[in-house]
């Protein structure tokens, strides 16, 4: 005898308990601390801050712990938390030419004022598993040297001085805010950049990669990639001047791309731009390539029909919180819609069968 399924509530509570137990794992193994995650899984923390669009390493580390290392789940926790925070005001734009750089490279010039700084990069490591890391070791110490440069001008600024690269004109208009206004198309570049900077790293990477393989190729060079700390300032109306409210680490990538020009307009390189919270250089480079591809119309290029040129396609599908939610919602019960489909298919089959029978008679 059938009794309608009850007990959803208890099942949920039990599932949550089980999840908590699994999260902790074997209790003979020491529990991870938030500080350990923050310090030793820093790149994961950076990604969660970037795509969660909230700069707080401790909260990001907590989210990673709570999500058992599922970074999209961690990003989701941060985004949901972010919703509850009041908006106190806006910072002034950060000044990345004043950045205290940990890393600064240019692929377009061998040397440049301020020099090339490799910084803490995987680039030239041999990807061999280091079994020494499996054993507990002593803390490595890197050499340090006092910097003799206090300012690192941007590579694109050199090019701009000679008119070799297209000038980006500053404006005083406030950009629209993706987190406060609904996305509407056409979006325009400020919204595109906001969307890309918190877009899924894998998605932005793949779209960027597709441009390199010929789907709207735009011949990028990394004009400059820099990672470091910048000061965040905020105007305090009561004081009448701006005060430092803290320091954040960001990754900035400026690409120098294929030139435009005509008989009347001299040839010029064009730009793509990426700026992401934390040390997140794969994402920043990808972002710059996608930004550049999306600018085809403004730069008078042809629409090749490539995915990377399709603003609506890229922006509507870049957010992993939207994507994962909608994808996973098909786990929810759909038996009402399925039942209507079932009835319809039965009806259509019945009619076909009747028609065949009539034809046979």
């Amino acid at each position: 005898m059938y009794v309608a399924v009850k007990g959803g509530e208890r099942a949920i509570d039990n599932a949550h308990e089980w999840l908590a137990e699994e999260r902790r794992g074997d209790t003979d193994i020491a529990e991870l601390s938030i500080a350990q995650i923050r310090e030793q899984l820093a790149l994961a923390v950076n990604r969660v801050m970037a795509e969660g669009s909230l700069y707080d390493p401790d909260l990001a580390a907590l989210a990673i712990k709570q999500s058992r290392g599922d970074l999209i789940e961690a990003i989701f926790l941060i985004r949901a938390y972010r919703t509850t925070l009041p908006r106190i005001g806006h910072s002034k734009p950060i000044e990345t030419s004043d950045m205290a750089c940990d890393r600064r490279i240019s692929a377009t010039f061998k040397d440049l004022p301020g020099g090339q700084i490799l910084g803490p990069t995987f680039d030239y490591t041999h990807r061999l598993l280091d079994f020494k890391l499996a054993a507990e070791g002593k803390a490595p110490v890197a050499q340090t040297r006092e910097t003799d440069v206090d300012r690192m001008p941007r590579v694109t600024d050199f090019l701009n001085q000679d008119g070799l690269i297209q000038t980006e004109t500053p404006t005083d208009t406030s950009p629209p805010d993706l987190t406060r206004q609904p996305m509407q198309f056409p979006a325009g570049r400020p919204l595109r950049l906001q969307n890309l900077t918190r877009g899924d790293e894998g998605f932005v990477l793949s779209i960027a990669y597709s441009t390199q393989r010929g789907y709207a190729r735009n011949h990028p060079f990394v004009g400059e990639l820099r990672i470091g700390r910048v000061v965040v300032e905020m105007d305090i109306p009561a004081l009448g001047f701006a005060v430092d409210i803290g320091e954040i680490t960001v990754t900035e990538c400026e690409t120098v791309n294929q030139f435009t020009g005509s008989k009347t307009e001299p040839a010029q390189f064009t730009r793509g731009y990426g700026l992401v919270f934390g040390q997140t250089e794969r994402k920043a480079i990808s972002m710059a390539l996608v930004d550049r591809a999306l600018r085809w119309e403004e730069l008078g290029e042809d629409n090749m029909g490539a995915p990377a040129q399709d603003e609506e396609f890229v922006l509507a599908h870049s957010d992993n919180i939207q994507a994962t939610g909608f994808l996973e919602h098909i786990k929810l019960p759909h038996y009402v819609d399925f039942q209507s489909e079932l009835e319809l298919v039965r009806k259509l089959r019945r009619e076909t069968a009747d028609a065949t029978k009539e034809a046979a008679e």
């Binding site: 949920i12 989701f76 949901a80 939610g325 994808l327 929810l332 019960p333 759909h334 038996y335 009619e351």
Partner: protein, 288 residues
Amino acid sequence: MSDYNFAYLDEQTKRMIRRAILKGVAIPGYQVPFASREMPMPYGWGTGGVQVSAACLTPEDTFKVIDQGADDTTNAVSIRKFFEFTAGVAVTEHTGEATVIQTRHRIPEEPLREDQILVYQVPIPEPLRFLEPRETETRKMHALEEYGLMHVKLYEDISRHGNIATSYAYPVKVEGRYVMDPSPIPKFDNPKLEMAAIQLFGAGREQRIYAIPPYTQVISLDFEDYPFDPSKADHPCDLCGAEHTYLDEVIIDDAGGRMFVCSDTDYCAGRQADGHRGRLSPIQEAAE
């Protein structure tokens, strides 16, 4: 209660959502863009409905949540608990007692009243989306009332299957103007869209809110010679014997045995309490 603001969202955000709702009510069936927030449940799991409910709820409200018609499906439980926790409102499983009802995929069988609000969770608000994927294009089609393509879809259904092959999320025209997606309710529920209660639709991921004010004309699209048919499984409920309700099909043994039960669990329980019995009712008749 909790440390969060009443019903989770801050007042600024609720005001923004209320403005969108008012605009939606003023232009029935029109999709109003709104700045959907990240909620603590995933997109696609009712975040649009949750934000609309959060903007509508007052401390005096009594809240009911159904998913697939049932109050105790997991996601309904989860959303109900969310508002119990963040808003401290009274909750109920009885349609008649609720002032705000959030639903996914069903309209309650019991007719709603003027003092009730029905909030739908909507996955894809754009009825033209699967005919034209581009938002910029579909907005133009709505603005210019170019709905020929919608009928092309129905035409294709009939020419291929002999019938209109849309069984849920069946498109409607609201007050003679906007073509609207009623969310994935079965077409059986479409006639109930003309009701006394106010109906609000929230699509969180797609950032749209729309509405059907009370007593608004809602017509399911069709052809004169292939009229809209809100049919359902041709059985009575095996628990309460109702002949006029939408039914779930339940497989009860390995041999393909099945039974049909009301998808609206509250309605079914109410009928059983009133003494109605179906073919397989487990409740013993007191008289026997």
